[in-house]
Symmetry: C2
Subunit: 327 residues, 2 copies
């Protein structure tokens, strides 16, 4: 069941996540990186790995065991995910929640037809947080669950504030409302919307001479992104921005609060605290790539999610060792 040779990994897409995968593979001695596949001219990629054009991918069919798709969920994965699954076992981090069923069907069909195996929607949310939610539901069927995100940088919200006229640099942190977290820890089970659970804190470097009042008004009234939330806008210098706000920390907490049949209360809590969202996400993808390699070797085909994969498959250690050391 455990591999006798190194697992050969390919990276499709070389943004923050792709670079994260490059780093993560270095921490896993049972794996090796074969190359990076990109839409940019490969020579222009600042990358120590062999780089190839996306169109060359199919020539690597027998040279790569698992292709980790480091593309975005908006257009790249829906457009190219299935094409990759035609040639490779794949792992991706598709995270448009509403479209997961449709995406799953598409990848599943393609992977079955081509006898490949694809893990979709891996990472930490969806991914590890989904596992925590499912475990909570199964172990405490009478209860409620809550997902808090942050403190962390939301790329979508940061992009939104950067589109506001007069904003030179901007970043948005999503922050859980600590009072609400504590209420739930104390056994309350309130009905909550995301906007009851999170604050949105923005740091902005304005263009010279920009109308700060107007920037603030535009942001706090932006529908969907900020209007429903308690939003704070802070103007800072470019120097402070570059010193303190260029990282991509994130994290959050999934809480399941429930009762056994006698009425006694129980709480399950899963928390992540990450200095780099893309690097941690990549670490999750890489561990799951090992599982996909092994399950594909056992003859499994089609699409899977983290719900379908036993944790033993994530580890390079033999099962006896896991039982001895970690059980």
């Amino acid at each position: 069941m455990k591999p006798e040779r190194k697992i050969r990994i390919g990276i499709a897409g070389y943004g923050n996540l792709g670079r994260g995968v490059e780093y993560a593979v270095k921490q896993n001695p049972d794996m090796e990186l074969i190359g990076v596949f990109t839409r940019r001219p490969p020579d222009e990629l600042h990358c120590s790995l062999p780089a190839f054009q996306i169109s060359d991918m199919k020539n690597f069919k027998d040279k790569i065991d698992v292709m980790i798709l480091c593309w975005g969920s908006a257009t790249d994965l829906p457009e190219h995910g299935a094409a990759a699954a035609e040639f490779f076992n794949t792992v991706d981090s598709f995270d448009t929640h509403a479209k997961i069923p449709e995406y799953f069907r598409k990848i599943d069909e393609c992977a079955r037809k081509n006898h490949t195996l694809s893990l979709i929607s891996c990472g930490w949310d969806p991914g590890l947080f989904s596992l925590a939610r499912l475990l909570g539901h199964c172990v405490l069927p009478e209860g409620k669950d809550y997902t808090f995100w942050g403190k962390g940088v939301s790329q979508g919200h940061s992009d939104a504030i950067r589109r506001v006229p007069g904003v030179k640099y901007g970043i948005q942190y999503t922050v859980p409302v600590q009072d609400v977290v504590e209420k739930i820890r104390n056994g309350e089970e309130p009905e909550l919307k995301s906007s009851d659970m999170h604050l949105r804190i923005c740091y902005i470097v304005p263009e010279k001479g920009a109308d700060l009042k107007k920037i603030e008004e535009t942001i706090i009234n932006m529908p969907h992104y900020f209007k429903e939330y308690k939003t704070t806008v802070n103007f800072i210098s470019e120097e402070e921005f570059k010193k303190n706000h260029t990282g991509m920390p994130h994290g959050g907490t999934v809480i399941r609060s429930g009762k056994s049949a006698t009425g006694l209360k129980h709480r399950i809590e899963f928390t992540l605290n990450l200095e780099s969202n893309p690097e941690f996400t990549a670490s999750v993808l890489v561990a799951y790539a090992r599982a996909i390699f092994r399950m594909a070797k056992e003859g499994k085909t089609g699409a899977l999610t983290v719900f379908d994969i036993p944790f033993a498959y994530l580890s390079p250690e033999p099962d006896e060792k896991l039982r001895e050391k970690l059980l």
Copy 2:
């Protein structure tokens, strides 16, 4: 893959854990309880379920899908676990860590021979905490993990203090050292023994005229149990004991603290807070009994641990629903 009829559950052993399973099955409408098997005279069991002698168990071979073994790890499971696996798919909570490999081999051999499926060492530790440890190792291969237990009642330590002459009632709480927890949360990775991580707090109702000083000395110097730990002994009235110290709360935290290859830090934390240790443990066993039922139906035999079971098998919901609602 999901069952068309109710899963028929048997309970072997009717102490706190067995009663917990009885309660937990009530919260799972896809299951039904067939009966309780006991070594005591079945009539003397205060139980609304049909009760039978252990020796009758084998007559239920075709009437029970999963037998949940609610026996202790000291003698009952090692002596009778394999015999139960001869007739039934089983789930147990064997928790003598050092003997898990030996116990696994014994059950595995018996279950393979008899075409049954057995999950050993389920519950929260071993069990859910083991899953958290394994996940941490796989996702953050460069790091350290820490398991804190408590605040909660340790049965073994409570039994030990009740054997001290002059002690009428006694209970022992294991409590994590909060400063140490915070250090780890702040990214330190100290080398720690269990005694650096936990306090032991005892509440004792002395016999009339007992020598309190002597009781305290005996406890705090008891090797293995207390001598290495910071131990506090509190003498209280019988009234206070009965009011505040008859529950069985427990819980704890597993922390994995690690780095990605760039040196950035990440923390994974899994916490349980339980008003009743046996009722929560039982809830875990019952969710896993569903998985064992389904995996046995698929033809799987032998012994398994929680490491071998995908979370999707724990849920009564179809996979599409899980992907739609929880991913």
